[in-house]
Subunit: 343 residues, 2 copies
Amino acid sequence: MPDTLTIPFHEMIDVFRSILLQNGFSDERANTCAEVFATNSLEGVYSHGVNRFALFVQMVREGHVVPDATPVLRHATPSLEQWDGALGPGVLNATIATNRAVQLAKQNGLGCVALANTNHWMRGGYYGWQAAKAGCVFIGWSNTIANMPAYGASDVRLGNNPLVIAVPFQQEAIVLDMALSQFSYGAMQMAEMRGESLPVFGGYDENGKLTKDPAAIIKSGRTLSIGYWKGAGLSLLLDIVVAVLSGGLAVHQISQQKAEKGLSQVFVAIALERLQNYPGIGACIQNIISDYKQSAATGEVLYPGERVMRKREQNRQAGIPVVQKVWDEILSLQTITKSVIDQ
Amino acid sequence: MPDTLTIPFHEMIDVFRSILLQNGFSDERANTCAEVFATNSLEGVYSHGVNRFALFVQMVREGHVVPDATPVLRHATPSLEQWDGALGPGVLNATIATNRAVQLAKQNGLGCVALANTNHWMRGGYYGWQAAKAGCVFIGWSNTIANMPAYGASDVRLGNNPLVIAVPFQQEAIVLDMALSQFSYGAMQMAEMRGESLPVFGGYDENGKLTKDPAAIIKSGRTLSIGYWKGAGLSLLLDIVVAVLSGGLAVHQISQQKAEKGLSQVFVAIALERLQNYPGIGACIQNIISDYKQSAATGEVLYPGERVMRKREQNRQAGIPVVQKVWDEILSLQTITKSVIDQ
């Protein structure tokens, strides 16, 4: 395993913010963006937090992500709005779109924001927590660059199009945040680095045989969709719906570009306070979870999001574990930019 | 394989209708209900068409399904309505809820109907086709009786909660209709009857080992959710959201009853004509499908719903294949009731 160090949450925010400020982000936008990247790390999703930050800055520097671009309303119906993300930072566009969906939900019961021309939202679950903390059910998804084959095919034409569903629970939330591939590339690379097999089939080797060997899958590029033909079909439909609702790019169009940019996303919020059964909703969810927790299993049965809360607490106390090389690269972004500015 | 015969589509409708008329259905409701059951069979989903009809009539006769009950509006927000299905026939309640969602979508862009206290909708895809033929994107799901374990557990506490996503395409539709278990019990029973293995793992045997043996899975009851922990998490969230939005029963409550009744369902429609990019939507979907069809595969790569269209044409020409025993049982329902009436 590589050398790691631990970084306190607020130190991580400060470092991210200082770099963003030097790369075209306003004060407020640098704050929000740094907070999202650091929170994703605090909550254990390093692959879409600290481990991805340097690449994000590179995307900004190369002009793929426009730091000061904000979403523009293109078309409104009473319950669905179509916005153009203007190639702004994905995490900022997504927090804005989520806020707008929540606002519409509080007004109308349900609100839907479809967002074209945006960028990678990093960890979709963040927006699930955001909406749930505002008292809403949340359903959202994004398309991606092609990274998964159709069922039975050997070339990648589908995205793993992450799907997020969240509900408020106690003072926290239950948040499902899942890509439609059985494993992310991040998870497979981690297993490869550790010399471990995947716990279940994760894709095909170059001979088209199902395998648990992460190296073989990374080599073939043939990742497995969840549930075989089912996840592949779901991926196709999520891509069609998000492209249709947003008027933005579909997976095949995103994949023709040099970088993964100009994504399409959907954000749906439903305000619990607008439902007739509002007073009983907390108990309804509690009863479902209580039954679920009574499952006969040797280990503890966790609900989606429960691990996130534990990791958050753990990392808040002990600091966020970061691979030394990753942190060094981030600090070098700070230095390089400073020296450029100092000239 | 058992003896089969073929029944023309319209003969099947007539037989179903005559039985429904003798079991408390009005003329119009018997027509619609018979048409849904026969269409599901015509389109190849026999398990939720002709093969389930006798059980449906039994549910009516035992009072679990109330033939003349219609949904009642309980609460309305501008974009989401909460209806009570009054334990009416699931297929009728679902066609009514879909129509209402489509109507709201044409008015507001997006319409959502949450339906409590309904019954089994048989084949969810039917409502996807219905909304798509009316020019809408459709997203809907139902909960079920518990029939799937939490990930790592040995007892069933989750439903396989079928999810439907549909979009209009050419003069037809693209319709994903999938339960969250890797295989339905119907598919496993069919494989067992034929002495065949499942093509991929379908669940666990009684020793907790993954298996392709349908008999071992039916015996243990430990069906596999799609994508292991992912499908289990999705099932839990779909149940929570549908129970919260409808104010109806969750899986654990349905499972405490003697029969699978009083289900909760959600129907979302989005009217394409209300979107800014409406004129380009046909081409957008066509381009996605064209790219998908270029997948490198030895066999043909089909999109969800394509097999349904082919089967529909085939069965329209050759008649609907029905197991002799199944058809005899249906005809006996007709006869028994007639003799009772004749007395």
